[in-house]
């Protein structure tokens, strides 16, 4: 055990931090893009507060198109764009853009469905009291949807952790890469098992955290 750790400890710790870093940064940016996009989708859809067919169908189609492409292909497809925007296509910096492009539309969808779940009657009640649309979005729709939104973000985060495993292909490192490089290519199965266990714990922890938080926000 100790022996294993002296040999692999630094590699595993480093990979662990890389995974967290990639997940954290891309998650933050994806939320910043995905959440407003989700709100816009809800507002511009038919019968929404700011119905706009053109906007809705364009965004809707783009999201569907991106969501159809497997991450591993997206990673390579975006290489030129990444190079132009970030300056490099390798390392953690190089993988953030593809991860965001992959996750943001997913979050937008999850947020959209969470927001759509909010009781239309409540929104109407607030409209009838002369409350402005902006205030209704913040203080009624988002507040009522918080719990479902948290669960959605949990799902997105776990999906994102999965996607980071492929980041090794562009030299970004991370746990997935470690398991693949050592466990598979260099035939060190123990490393792979350990990485898998760490990933399981990580995902479990995320899900539990999300569930607890969501339950706390839910009052019915």
């Amino acid at each position: 055990m100790i022996e294993f750790w002296t040999e692999w400890g630094t590699d595993i710790t480093e990979a662990f931090w890389q995974t967290l870093l990639m997940t954290g940064i891309s998650l933050a940016i994806s939320i910043l893009i995905g959440l407003p996009l989700g709100i816009l989708l809800v507002m511009t859809r038919k019968g929404g507060q700011a119905e706009n067919r053109v906007f809705y169908s364009i965004v809707n189609t783009i999201i569907n198109v991106i969501r159809s492409i497997p991450f591993i292909i997206l990673l390579f497809l975006l290489l030129p764009l990444t190079r132009a925007l970030v300056g490099t296509t390798i390392g953690v910096e190089g993988v953030i853009l593809p991860l965001v492009v992959y996750t943001a539309p997913y979050i937008a969808r999850l947020m959209e469905s969470a927001l759509l779940e909010v009781n239309k009657g409540v929104i109407e009640a607030y409209e009838s009291m002369g409350i402005s649309t902006t205030k209704i979005i913040w203080s009624v729709i988002i507040r009522e949807a918080r719990s479902t939104m948290i669960l959605g973000l949990t799902i997105a985060t776990i999906g994102l952790i999965g996607a980071t495993a492929m980041a090794g292909l562009v030299g970004a490192g991370g746990l997935g890469d470690l398991a693949y490089q050592y466990g598979h290519l260099r035939f060190e199965p123990v490393v792979m098992y350990v990485v898998i266990i760490i990933l399981i714990i990580l995902v479990q922890a995320m899900q539990t955290f999300g569930n607890v938080l969501a339950r706390r926000l839910r009052k019915d």
Partner: protein, 337 residues
């Protein structure tokens, strides 16, 4: 206070056009409780939603306190809506906020000063009798209590008008009664004009001053509750009034009885319901009345008694008995068999 002028509303879904409201005009006076009754699909829900422009009429004007809402800009409409409270069939409370928060949040969003918010919330929660449940979430409340929170929320805006969209339709009879009592108090003590829609005749009877009957998007009859209730003109109104009065005598029974005499319904208003008319006609004329169904309904302003009777006897005598009853201010109507 509220006036709808030639309001029409057409919904278009694809190529299908549905005329939910056809040229409806009505006027509700300050301080009164006006009810619109109709079966589902009659357009009453669309009608009440036009009163605060939750539904914008395709044609026509909506005046609240003399101001035509349809002509207002968005921000002006928002301000005008502050004067119009609304309650709903399904309460429409925030599920993630406490009772207190549910009443307070709209006030915060409408920029009511902080100290005033607390005052108002406490005041109106007291009026609806829920001050003890302040920190409870809606999920822990009964339907009636939820509606009370919704009423407190609407009242806390200090409106001049309260719109009630089937507010008691999701409640059991006892709870309905207590909510109706509350609405009556709101009307009397706070002087708030109430415009309500319902499919329950009972609601109209108990709290309304005037009533309108909707059928297929049209207001087919209108008047004081007593008039409409005792002398219904339109077939739709008669349906409401007679269905309610337990006059559901099986057709086979009616047929048998009309062979041996006449089947009539009697309606008495107020004091008249206490007089022993049937005893009087048996003494004065050669008729044998038998009671098939009957009851007394308490309206807001008066009580109304209804009887379905069978009059057996010589046709001329029966005719005399009927004339006598009419002379005593009893409304007599032949019941079709």
């Amino acid at each position: 206070m509220i006036e709808l002028k030639n309001v029409s509303k057409t919904f278009t879904t694809g190529k299908k056009k549905v005329e939910a409201l056809k040229d409806v005009s009505l006027k509700i006076n300050k301080g009164e409780i006006y009810g619109v009754i109709g079966f589902s699909g009659a357009g009453k829900s669309t009608l009440i939603r036009c009163a605060n422009l939750l539904e914008r009429p395709t044609e026509g004007e909506v005046f609240i306190d003399g101001v035509d809402l349809t002509k207002l800009k968005k921000w002006q409409l928002r301000k005008a809506r502050g004067k119009i409270g609304m309650i709903f069939q399904h309460f429409n409370l925030l599920s993630t906020a406490t009772v207190y928060e549910n009443v307070a949040r709209p006030l915060k969003l409408s920029k009511v000063p902080k100290h005033e918010i607390k005052e108002r919330v406490d005041k109106y929660l007291k009026i609806v009798g829920l001050e003890e449940k302040k920190n409870v979430y809606p999920a822990q409340l009964s339907g009636g209590q939820k509606q009370r929170v919704a009423i407190a929320r609407a009242l806390a805006q200090e409106p001049e008008v309260l719109l009630s969209d089937e507010a008691t339709s999701a409640l059991d009879p006892n709870t309905t009664s207590s909510i109706l009592e509350l609405l009556l108090r709101v009307n009397k003590e706070l002087g708030i004009t109430i415009f309500l829609i319902t499919h329950e005749l009972d609601v109209i009877q108990r709290i309304c001053d005037r009533v309108g009957v909707m059928h297929h998007g049209e207001l087919v009859e209108e008047g004081s509750v007593i008039d409409v209730f005792t002398k219904p003109q339109h077939p739709q109104t008669r349906k409401f009034v007679f269905d309610d009065a337990n006059f559901q005598v099986p057709d086979s029974v009616k047929k048998g009885l009309s062979a041996t005499g006449r089947l009539v319904s009697l309606t008495f208003i107020g004091e008249a319901s206490n007089e022993p008319f049937l005893a009087a006609i048996t003494k004065k004329f050669e008729v044998v009345p038998s009671i098939l169904a009957g009851g007394i309904d308490q309206l807001k302003a008066s009580s109304v008694g209804k009887l379905l009777i069978h009059l057996q006897g010589d046709p001329a005598e029966v005719e005399k008995a009927i004339s006598y009853l009419e002379s005593q201010h009893v409304t007599v109507e032949e019941v079709a068999s």
